[in-house]
């Protein structure tokens, strides 16, 4: 079975860090969409 740490209920630093990571990932996904739009408009439309 996977190893888990004992939970300190008030320590949410891991969770908050993960959620911040998601914000960055959303920007990455938006950047990919922007690249597709630019490529389409300039070269493939």
């Amino acid at each position: 079975m996977k190893e888990f740490d004992v939970v300190d209920q008030t320590d949410v630093s891991d969770e908050v860090a993960y959620e911040r990571g998601l914000t960055v990932k959303s920007l990455l996904a938006l950047a990919v969409v922007a690249v597709i739009v630019v490529v389409r408009q300039r070269y493939l439309g």
Binding site: K2, Q9, V12, D14, T23, S26, L27, A29, I36, G45
Partner: protein
């Protein structure tokens, strides 16, 4: 003549508008994913605290001898003080050895396991839960209630991660992230695994941001005792969506419902189209009932809860009405084709370009939200809308390279597409959104046949898992309109759920 001309012009733009209605669910889906990005700043972590309430775990069980023993063993491994845990199995008149297994566990874990026998069973999950709830509310021991399914696996830290939110008295209930855990899985469980990233990890985070939750997961709902008492001390039995009813009632009583994405619960989900169809038909019919029951709430903001907010209403109805929207788009495009072909072609392009952009953003972001799940479900994630829809998206977004490919491919095969064939292909693309649902249904019909073993999965990949779910939703409208009996088709479980190492 002028009047006729104006009527025709007005009709044309009305048809264009009907097609453009299809952009609303696309924008809603993208907006929902954009809200996920705000979850780092708008969540409930600022109000959590040390909180270990005496928790009763209520497990409805009917003929669960294969899984109930192992479930109890795993629950005893939870990172939670044992003296504050009580596992209550409500045995819904099981005819197998469920009672014996539970009684053996009572001896193994004295004081932690309770067997509640219901002699007249078979009325459904809500009735079973109410039997257990009535007993639990008789004394003061229970401070929190966790409702779960017999076969799900809670990761050891999950309960503690959930109860910490109940330290805030404004929170009435907490739900966890259900992940598909069938091992070995198949194509269907991988589709569901990906679907749960979008429907839970993403959608419920966005609902946290909005401050309103649509549904507590049936297999992972933690309530404070105060909340259970405030909603009447019982679960609604009038519908097939008792989880959603409970979620709505909690929020109507003025308490928040929180999704804890880092509390992970593994569940075995359907491995065939038929069992998926039955499960989702029950859920979809439940949603029809919820929509009707709470009709006074939609798009009517009220103090105390956010169920009537405009955004929540748009999210709810975009899913609820998606099959209708798909039929409307196809019908309007076909009508426009005969009235004004160039306009229909432009409209079609615009819709599918929007679909393409939303598809890239939501799929890519969904795969990044839960990379552990994405590692084995990315193919199903990419093919979620189906190969045909992806082909149409590619053609709409990149017409020049697509035409070049088609031209060379047909030349290689030694034939040229005629004008008639090209227009037949265009009509096919126009009709596809509506047609994808009955085609998905044929995958279910073929499944029990010999050829269906290979053909049905192939159809799902070609048609898409999304249209399959839309087909189920459409079926739910029909069943509700006909007033079909509300049967509780229990999802078949094999006990092959496992937590990955």
């Amino acid at each position: 003549m002028t009047l006729l001309h104006e009527f025709s012009l007005g009709g044309k733009w009305l048809l264009v508008l009907c097609v453009m209605v299809g952009i609303i669910p696309l924008l809603a889906a993208s907006y929902q994913f954009l809200l996920v990005a705000l979850h780092s700043g708008r969540n409930h972590y600022g109000k959590v605290g040390d909180h270990l309430p005496r928790t009763a775990i209520l497990i409805p069980a009917w003929n669960e001898e294969a899984v109930i023993g192992a479930s109890i063993d795993r629950l005893m491994l939870l990172d939670y003080p044992r003296e504050r845990l009580r596992i209550c199995v409500v045995d819904d008149a099981s005819t197998d050895d469920t009672p014996k297994v539970v009684q053996a566990k009572m001896l193994e874990y004295p004081g932690n396991v309770v067997h509640m026998r219901r002699e007249n069973g078979g009325q459904g999950k809500a009735h079973t839960l109410n039997h257990g709830l009535a007993i639990l509310l008789e004394d003061d021991w229970m401070e929190a209630l966790l409702v779960m399914d017999a076969d799900v696996i809670y990761e050891p830290p999950s309960l503690k991660k959930m109860t910490r939110h109940l330290a805030d008295p404004e929170v009435g209930a907490v739900t966890a992230y259900i992940k598909e855990g069938s091992r070995p899985g198949n194509y269907m469980t991988r589709f569901i695994g990906y679907e749960y990233i979008t429907a839970q990890a993403a959608a419920r985070r966005s609902q946290n941001v909005l401050g309103v939750l649509a549904c507590l997961a049936g297999g992972a709902q933690l309530h404070s005792r105060v909340n259970i008492e405030a909603i009447g001390g019982r679960i609604d039995t009038s519908s097939l969506a008792e989880d959603t009813f409970t979620t709505f009632k909690t929020q109507l009583a003025g308490r928040r419902v929180v999704f804890e994405p880092h509390a992970v619960v593994w569940a075995e989900e359907p491995g065939s189209i038929d069992s998926l169809w039955k499960q989702r038909l029950r859920w979809a019919r439940g949603n029809v009932q919820v929509t009707k029951q709470f009709k006074h709430l939609w798009f009517r903001p009220q103090p105390g809860h956010r169920l009537g907010s405009f955004t929540f209403g748009v999210f709810w109805f975009c899913l609820f009405l998606l099959p209708v929207i798909m039929i409307l788009i196809s019908a309007s495009l076909v009508a426009l084709y005969f009235i004004d072909f160039p306009l229909s072609w432009e409209t079609f392009h615009l819709l599918w370009i929007m679909a393409g952009l939303c598809y890239v953003f939501t799929t890519l972001f969904a795969l990044l939200i839960d990379t552990d799940t994405s590692r084995h479900t990315w193919k199903e994630g990419v093919l979620f809308p189906g190969l045909i829809s992806i082909t149409i998206i590619t053609y709409a977004c990149f017409p020049r390279p697509a035409r070049w490919c088609i031209h060379n491919a047909t030349e290689l095969m030694g034939f040229h597409l005629t004008h008639g064939q090209i227009h037949l292909a265009i009509l096919f693309a126009y009709v596809w959104l509506a047609a994808s649902m009955p085609v998905a249904w044929t995958a279910r019909l073929l499944e029990p046949k010999r050829a269906g073993r290979y053909l049905s999965p192939a159809i799902v990949y070609i048609v898409g898992y999304g249209p399959l779910l839309c087909g189920v939703t459409f079926n739910s409208y029909v069943k509700e309109l006909r007033g079909a009996a509300m049967t509780w088709d229990k999802t078949e479980k094999s006990g092959k759920v496992a937590m990955p190492a």
